[in-house]
């Protein structure tokens, strides 16, 4: 009993979301040097992309920063989510929960500015981190990623009874063994999803990276951003097509992996 207007709006909304993406992919194969003008089929923009060292360098740096920050976020966010879900009530729990969730609700400009201020103050006081670059961007992205992972892990554990860990201990598992054989496998899907999300967030971020990167830390989004300020180029179409293909592939793989699980 869904009113027709609701269904019309669904398809309208989907068309709105997909229109730029579809055009982007289609025109990536156009020979014209004006984006979104058809000039016959050509792969020249993919070739141009492959020759754009600045963009490729930024992409390579972005991938490393994203992988590093996502991994750090999974370790710290996993620990945070587990502590929040399984340590019961302890002194400082609500403070920990508030701090863990803060990056989710703070505007990016505030988080970015505050992290830069921290890195500058730290360097002034201790000499570390020496200047800003890939490392500081990685730490900034890990901070944001940690918050997301913590929320995902906490809610995943909250849906699973503590009974499971108690049953493991009842059957003779030490607390550490119960964690390794029961809790960790339960957390695994959340950790994987959290890693992917943190990775994506890092690959998409302009604001945090603008604040915390120095001249040596230009990530792909920052490079793209300065390109787009001057207008759109067909190379970006080609890049978008590649990214979309990679995303669809990843999603398909994840879907296959998750199939057959609970």
């Amino acid at each position: 009993m869904t009113p027709r207007l609701v269904r019309v709006l669904l398809w309208g909304g989907l068309a709105f979301l997909w229109l730029p993406v579809v055009l982007l992919v289609g025109y990536a194969f156009s020979a014209s040097s004006v984006p979104f003008r058809w000039g016959g089929f050509s792969l020249r923009w993919f070739a141009a992309l492959a020759a754009n060292d600045r963009l490729l360098e930024a992409a390579w740096l972005s991938l490393r920063v994203a992988a590093g920050s996502a991994t750090l976020a999974v370790l710290l966010g996993g620990a945070t989510g587990w502590v929040l879900a399984r340590h019961g009530a302890f002194a400082g729990r609500s403070l920990l929960g508030t701090l863990a969730g803060a990056p989710l609700v703070l505007p990016e400009v505030v988080t970015g500015l505050s992290l830069l201020l921290l890195f500058v103050a730290l360097e002034g006081a201790t000499g570390w981190p020496a200047g800003r670059g890939a490392l500081t961007v990685l730490l900034a992205h890990a901070t944001l990623g940690t918050a997301y992972v913590a929320v995902i892990v906490q809610s995943r554990l909250a849906t699973r009874d503590r009974d499971l860990e108690e049953a493991a201990q009842d059957l003779g598992a030490t607390p550490a063994a119960a964690f390794a054989t029961v809790t960790l496998p339960l957390m695994a899907p959340a950790l994987a999803a959290g890693w992917l999300l943190a990775f994506t967030l890092s690959l998409d971020d302009v604001v945090l990276a603008s604040f915390t990167s120095g001249p040596s830390g230009t990530t792909l989004p920052v490079a793209l951003f300065s390109m787009l300020r001057l207008g759109m180029t067909p190379e970006v179409n080609a890049l978008a097509t590649l990214l979309l293909a990679a995303a669809a592939l990843t999603l398909g793989l994840v879907g296959l992996l998750l199939r057959g699980r609970d």
């Binding site: 669904l10 730029p20 982007l24 710290l76 701090l99 505007p107 002034g124 890990a142 998409d204």
Partner: protein, 278 residues
């Protein structure tokens, strides 16, 4: 052992979330200087500096910037909701198509935010696809300026944030009991009436959460106004960047961050309460 395990996330969060925010407070009452870093903290001898915060209250430029940000964020969130509410509900009721439709909403998200905004640049500019279509249809001779307008900025914001608004509505709509609408029909309500009087009211908390989920980040948005908006769309995110990077006035930038945070405290607390209630 367990206490030590709590310390790891505790210390990380203290260093990378609590300490940075505390520094924003310190900077907001510091003095701009020509040194490196370009500020003198209150304990450097000059005491606290009230001028940065006073400037925000007195200078109409900053006041207008904060006000404009809130208007744009509210418009963005409202428009997102108009689309997201029917989309979330329809997807939740799509039966075996549910997962495919949800993926269709989320997949564009993975092309990268900047690239999708870039696509709109290509579509909206004078020689762009939309103007070409309009000319092709004979609706216009000269290009209509679309890019770098308030409309383009709003369009980009709605486009970027729409998937975030769909998710909470979808999640809440899947938890609705379809029997309730049947009960309403049994008691004489038409489908439309049942939807308005039974289904929508149950979704209010989710709709409010979706609105805030868009409103809060949109209020501090920097990239979209910069890429799609007109120069006079001086939203607070843009002004903050300008103060920080062009004017190297870190204290005023921090004061702006603080002002934005203060204005968003209410919406943030409300959002977290809605989250806990669900």
């Amino acid at each position: 052992m367990r206490v030590a395990l709590r310390l790891v996330p505790g210390l990380w969060l203290a260093l990378l979330v609590a300490a940075p925010l505390a520094l924003v407070f310190v900077l907001a009452v510091s003095w701009q200087s020509n040194g490196v870093p370009p500020y003198d903290p209150p304990w450097a001898g000059q005491g606290t500096n009230p001028d940065n915060l006073r400037l925000l209250l007195e200078d109409p430029y900053y006041r207008a910037s904060l006000a404009q940000s809130f208007v744009v964020a509210a418009l963005t969130a409202g428009l997102c909701l108009l689309l997201a509410a029917p989309m979330g509900i329809a997807i939740a009721r799509a039966g075996r198509w549910r997962n495919a439709l949800l993926a269709a909403v989320l997949l564009p998200f993975w092309t990268g935010f900047l690239i999708r905004i870039g696509a709109w640049i290509g579509l909206l500019r004078d020689e762009g696809w939309i103007n070409a279509v309009l000319r092709g249809l004979g609706l216009t001779q000269d290009a209509i300026p679309l890019l770098y307008t308030h409309g383009a900025m709003l369009l980009g914001m709605v486009y970027a944030y729409l998937p975030f608004a769909v998710l909470p509505v979808f999640a809440a709509a899947t938890r609705l009991d379809p029997v309730l609408e049947e009960a309403a029909a049994d008691l004489g309500a038409t489908p439309g009436h049942a939807f308005l009087t039974v289904t929508l009211p149950q979704l209010f908390p989710a709709l409010a959460a979706a609105f805030l989920l868009v409103f809060i980040p949109a209020a501090g948005e920097y990239v979209i106004p910069e890429l799609l908006g007109p120069p006079d769309a001086t939203l607070v995110g843009r002004v903050l960047f300008q103060e920080f990077f062009q004017n190297r006035d870190w204290p005023v930038a921090s004061a702006l961050a603080l002002a934005l945070l203060a204005l968003l405290t209410g919406p943030i607390l409300l959002f977290q309460r809605l989250g806990r209630a669900q």
